[in-house]
Amino acid sequence: MSRLLVVDDEANIRLLYAEELKDEGYEVVTAANIAEAMEKLQEGAFDLAVLDIKLKNESGIELLQQLVKERHNMPVILCSAFSCYKDDFSAWLADGYVVKSGDLTELKHEIARVLAKKAQKAKTGL
């Protein structure tokens, strides 16, 4: 079972993600800010992280940069209300990008795609 870390400042969104992704067969751990996210990361390994870009006064992009630097084997999917971040070069560090929607189909597809890619990479070493 893949273990996912979901970071979003909205409690209801964390709950929604947790419920929906658990239904998809993932183990989901949530965090409301960067400090909490780092704490969860210290506690155990994750197969993938889903990050919101706007975390109240913090930036999900900063967390993304930190994760790429420190945990480059863990893929990250950015999830935001802003489609414009797709063109932000700092967001290119992420493995996937999803615009927030009540319909989580796209997010679920993206998680599956990124995890499959990670598995393929682990298998082939490429």
Binding site: F82, K100, D103, L104
Partner: protein
């Protein structure tokens, strides 16, 4: 007039004064000279005294006449200089000043020289360069010009104006060859022209072809043996040099001519400098005016950009404030829907929530795609279909408002080269703007076109819009309660502008409002 043969008609007053009669007439009278001769021959003791007194009287009379003639000439010269000064002082136009100066040198009533060539200092290139010349090139031309001047008794200003308007360009062209070759570096202090320029006083060059300071090239170029070099100085600044000569008549240039011309050069130099400064001032003024206009345009642009930046901030705020709750509502509704049996009567309500949130997310996407409007993605589309789809999308709201929207597709139209998403958004916004907050409106959409463009008009005959409302219509957040909040219209305009599609809004005083957009049918980029 009595017995005196020298008193004629008009000299009657001399009959009243014997003293005047003797002084003015008798001394020159042949009878008096004959009597005086006889007087001497007879050996009268006073004869030698009479002779001496008579000779001295005649000498002084001649001297006085000469002085009177000199004073008359000087009076004419002063009058001419006064006229010249008046004309020069009243002008700040360089061409006019130069025309006056050169005309004064060559006009018969002026200094009467045959030819004048003006050289001006070019500080940027550190050169003394030929600028303008006036005068005939040969005797035939000279006699023709002088006859013409003699037949028209014109004052200096009129002569100069006539020259400027009718002859300036021709004279420039006529002397082009000479002017082109008259170019001397200002630091060539051995050159006769620079020597004259630095010397500050007129310099008469005689026997030019053998003059040690005159190069054969210069003498040959001017083609005269004698010429005058007159430097033009103003406040110790070297303005230029005038070369004057009598190349046709070969009249001698006298010392008096030189003195007169020296007096003339001061106001000319001053006027040339003033006119040049005025030219530069005018140039600077034009630059400042141009810069001011650009600044004003930039300010207006900044104001527009600030307004649009405000739109950007508002949409950003909307994105975060609305999308998250929408996502939560829609997301949980979908979750509940998944676990709700098909037979559950509440399933319809949940489906409605899912459907409405999806629609709201779509609207939000459109607003947030505002930034994408900067980079439209265009392709060829059937405009009839685009309009029909826009109306269908709004059908529910039209019915709800009791509005009627009439549209008859136009056959045989070419496809339009547009960003379909943006143009659809604009059509929906224009229609919605019309029915916003109103009921019972009648909207008519018409399409017309040719091979180059397609016009889509959305008209509402029942709507009355004031000029102020019309002006604020396309400004973001300039709220008009009658025609909506203006945000959608501003986005429309931005989107259409980026595609080079004009949006024209017409609201005639008699009522009604018509929006017209003209869609391109070719792939050319908008200019």
């Amino acid at each position: 007039m009595g017995d005196c043969p020298n008193i004629r008609e008009g000299d009657e007053d001399l009959l009243l004064s014997q003293r005047r009669r003797i002084l003015e007439k008798c001394c020159d009278c042949a009878n008096f000279k004959r009597d005086l001769k006889r007087f001497c021959e007879n050996g009268h003791p006073l004869a030698s005294v009479f002779s001496l007194v008579h000779d001295e009287h005649q000498r002084q009379k001649t001297q006085i006449q000469s002085l009177v003639s000199f004073l008359d000439n000087k009076t004419l010269e002063v009058r001419f200089l006064h006229e010249l000064g008046s004309v020069l002082q009243s002008s700040v136009d360089l061409e006019e000043v130069l025309s006056v100066a050169l005309t004064a040198i060559t006009a018969g009533k002026g200094f009467g020289m045959n030819r004048a060539i003006l050289l001006l200092t070019d500080r940027s290139h550190a050169q003394l360069k030929g600028y303008l010349a006036i005068g005939p090139r040969n005797y035939e031309e000279a006699s023709q010009v002088w006859d013409e001047i003699a037949s028209n008794d014109m004052d200096l200003q009129t002569l100069a104006q006539n020259f400027r308007l009718n002859k300036l360009s021709a004279e420039r062209a006529k002397f082009h060859d000479i002017l082109e070759q008259l170019s001397v570096p200002l630091d060539a202090t051995d050159h006769i022209l620079i020597k004259a320029l630095d010397g500050k006083h007129p310099l008469l060059i005689e026997d030019a072809f053998h003059h040690p300071d005159v190069t054969p090239g210069l003498a040959s170029l001017l083609g005269v043996d004698t010429f005058l070099l007159m430097p033009l100085h103003s406040r110790n600044r070297r303005i230029g040099l005038i070369i004057a000569d009598n190349c046709i008549t070969h009249h001698r240039i006298s010392d008096e001519d030189m003195l007169s011309l020296e007096t003339f050069t001061f106001p000319v130099a001053f006027a040339i400098e003033r006119a040049s400064l005025y030219d530069r001032l005018q140039l600077e003024l034009n630059r400042v005016t141009e810069a001011s206009n650009k600044l004003q345009e930039q300010q207006e642009l900044i104001v527009r950009m600030e307004k649009m930046a405000l739109v950007g901030r508002i949409t950003s705020s909307i994105a975060h404030s609305i999308r998250n709750p929408l996502m939560i509502i829609g997301g949980f509704a979908r979750s509940i829907l998944k676990s709700t049996p098909a037979s559950d009567p509440k399933r319809d309500f949940i489906e409605s929530i899912v459907s409405e949130t999806r629609q709201l997310e779509g609207v939000l996407d459109e607003i947030l795609n505002y930034s994408d409007s900067l980079y439209p993605t265009r392709d060829f589309w059937d405009v009839n279909r685009v309009v029909e789809t826009a109306i269908r999308d709004l059908q529910d709201r039209l019915i709800q408002r009791g509005c009627e929207c009439r549209f008859e597709p136009e056959a045989n139209l070419p496809q339009a080269y547009i960003d379909i998403k943006q143009v659809s958004y604009c059509l929906r916004t224009l229609i919605l703007n019309d029915i916003d907050g109103r009921t019972g409106e009648n909207i008519r959409i018409q399409i017309s076109g040719n091979s180059d463009s397609i016009q889509v008009s959305i008209a509402d005959k029942d709507r009355n819009v004031s000029q102020d409302e019309l002006d604020s219509l396309l400004t973001p957040f300039s709220i008009s309660h009658d025609i909506g909040n203006g945000l959608g219209m501003a986005l429309c305009r931005t989107m259409l502008d980026k595609q080079g599609i004009p949006l024209v809004v017409i609201a005639p005083p008699e009522g009604g409002i018509t929006y017209t957009i003209t869609l391109p049918t070719h792939k050319e980029e908008p200019s």
